[in-house]
């Protein structure tokens, strides 16, 4: 009885210590809520777009999120963070959307909005042009790559879109676009995520290919 108790305690202690200290993830930041991204994103203006949420582990799960950080005046980068389950569940509805924005001066906004929201309407980065009976947003030549970074795929933000964006932002309510274009079920986001997901990873290697390679390497003269 004593030995069984001791053994069970040992297993629990090991799992608890491993989960608490996670030595394999010592370089990965832990994010409890969107505001915590501020400790990772130092430069301004910047916007964090959620690309993917993933859980690892069989019984004790660890949740990871992959973000694309788009800076106004610096090259973009991707980061991987650890997070808690409730936040992972909540934010998975806003995949492909901007979850965190930091303006010049340090103001932070965390209402989920379509990607690129921080830069639309900012005269430093682009201008409104009249086209097809409406005004649409166009980035300056130096920022022509931004729509590709945001995964817009031909989407042109209009004045009416921008007005709604500001309204939702003011109210603090998530905005998925005028026709639900962005987010988990968004049509534009679906294309964007398909494009950014890592398909060349080890998981996609087929056993048959590996076996053929092995035969070729070892038994071909």
């Amino acid at each position: 009885m004593n030995k069984t108790f001791f053994y069970s305690a040992l297993v629990v202690a090991y799992l608890a210590l491993s989960k608490t200290f996670s030595p394999d993830n010592s370089g990965v930041e832990y994010v409890r809520r969107t505001q915590d991204l501020e400790k990772i994103i130092k430069r301004v203006p910047a916007e964090a777009i959620l690309l993917q949420t993933q859980s690892k582990g069989f019984l004790i799960k660890t949740y990871y999120q992959r973000y694309k950080i788009v800076y106004g005046f610096h090259p973009p980068r991707e980061i991987v963070v650890r997070t808690k389950r409730s936040f992972a569940d909540y934010s998975s509805n806003f995949q492909g959307m901007s979850l965190f924005r930091k303006r010049v001066g340090g103001t932070v906004e965390t209402t989920p909005l379509p990607p690129g929201s921080l830069f639309i309407g900012n005269r430093q980065f682009g201008r409104w042009i009249f086209k097809d009976n409406d005004y649409s947003w166009a980035f300056y030549r130096a920022y022509q790559g931004f729509p590709r970074l945001f995964g817009w795929f031909g989407f042109n933000p209009t004045r009416s879109f921008f007005k709604k964006l500001l309204e939702f932002e003011k109210k603090g309510v998530p905005f998925h676009g005028e026709n639900n274009d962005f987010g988990k079920n968004g049509t534009i986001t679906a294309k964007f995520i398909k494009n950014t997901s890592n398909k060349d990873g080890l998981n996609s290697v087929r056993v048959r290919t590996l076996f053929n390679e092995y035969l070729k390497l070892n038994y071909t003269y």
């Binding site: 040992l10 030595p23 993933q54 690892k56 990871y64 992959r66």
Partner: protein
């Protein structure tokens, strides 16, 4: 040709240098291991008392194991290299003898060297000392290699390893059917064999736990503890499996059949316990240290 001769002469000089270190080790006993003074005062007679011979020679075997890990690199100049080697060797000698003194005071606190070895010629006591001395030597050799010429880190790792080593030795009653103190007084060889297997098995796990990449001492210490905890979970599984697969009678069955810990039966029991523990520890070390799962990273 001259270069070959130079290298040959240098190697001969290093033989002399190693002999000097051994000479220093002999007299370091006076400071760091006072109980060993009696063995050093006069010419040692290996024939009269075999348990004393084993007790004495086990420390020679230990220091040779440690010295086998010393390295000389001709980076700057010969004197600098030799000085570095001398400092590391001296500190290692001090740590090794202090470790032996500490473990004897903690593990064998109820026994005295002069009573057990000189008067009672307790061979079982000497076999346990042999296992302890070899284990400590392997452990210190590992931490010297991990410290990478830093004396501060070497001292910290030594303290850390001693605490863990001391803790693991206290787990023996959980594993064995032998009552350590009682059977050691009775000069039980079975106990010595069982304990030796237990200590050497633990040493394999501990030395491999220290053999990890380290950039940050806190993270390194945590990883060591986690690896040891994981090993302590896996070792009992392997022991049970080895018993079952190779149809070896378990302790419960032996007790039920009326076998008692007497000089006839205990050697077999001790051998079984010792060898199975050592085998389980080696298999565990393979599972814990050779199967690398830390490369499972998200979004791959």
């Amino acid at each position: 040709m001259e270069e070959i001769l130079d290298r040959f002469i240098l190697r001969i000089l290093f033989v002399g240098f190693t002999c000097l270190l051994l000479f220093f080790y002999r007299y370091a006993h006076y400071i760091f291991y006072p109980p060993g003074k009696r063995q050093l005062k006069k010419i040692f007679d290996p024939v009269t008392n075999p348990s004393n011979t084993l007790h004495y020679l086990s420390r020679i075997l230990g220091i040779t194991l440690i010295f086998s890990g010393l390295e000389f690199n001709y980076f700057y100049s010969l004197p600098v290299g030799i000085m570095n080697m001398l400092i590391i060797a001296s500190v290692t000698v001090a740590l090794y003898l202090s470790s032996i003194y500490l473990t004897e005071s903690i593990i064998l606190y109820k026994f005295d060297y002069s009573d057990e070895v000189l008067k009672r010629e307790n061979f079982s006591y000497s076999v346990i000392n042999l296992a302890l001395n070899i284990s400590l030597a392997l452990l210190i050799k590992q931490i010297v290699s991990e410290a990478e010429n830093s004396l501060v880190i070497l001292f910290l790792l030594w303290l850390y390893s001693m605490v863990i080593f001391g803790f693991t030795t206290k787990l023996f009653p959980l594993y064995s059917m032998f009552n350590f103190n009682q059977q050691l007084i009775q000069k039980n060889m079975g106990l010595a064999l069982s304990y030796s297997g237990f200590i050497l098995g633990n040493t394999i796990i501990l030395t491999l736990a220290f053999d990890q990449d380290h950039y940050d001492i806190t993270s390194y210490s945590i990883r060591i503890i986690l690896k040891i905890l994981l090993s302590s979970i896996l070792v009992p599984i392997f022991i049970i499996v080895l018993h079952r697969i190779f149809s070896i009678k378990e302790k419960k069955v032996l007790k039920r059949e009326g076998h008692k810990i007497n000089p006839q039966d205990s050697v077999g029991m001790g051998l079984t316990e010792g060898i199975l523990y050592l085998s389980a520890a080696i298999l565990t070390s393979m599972i814990v240290y050779k199967i690398n799962l830390s490369t499972i990273i998200p979004f791959n």
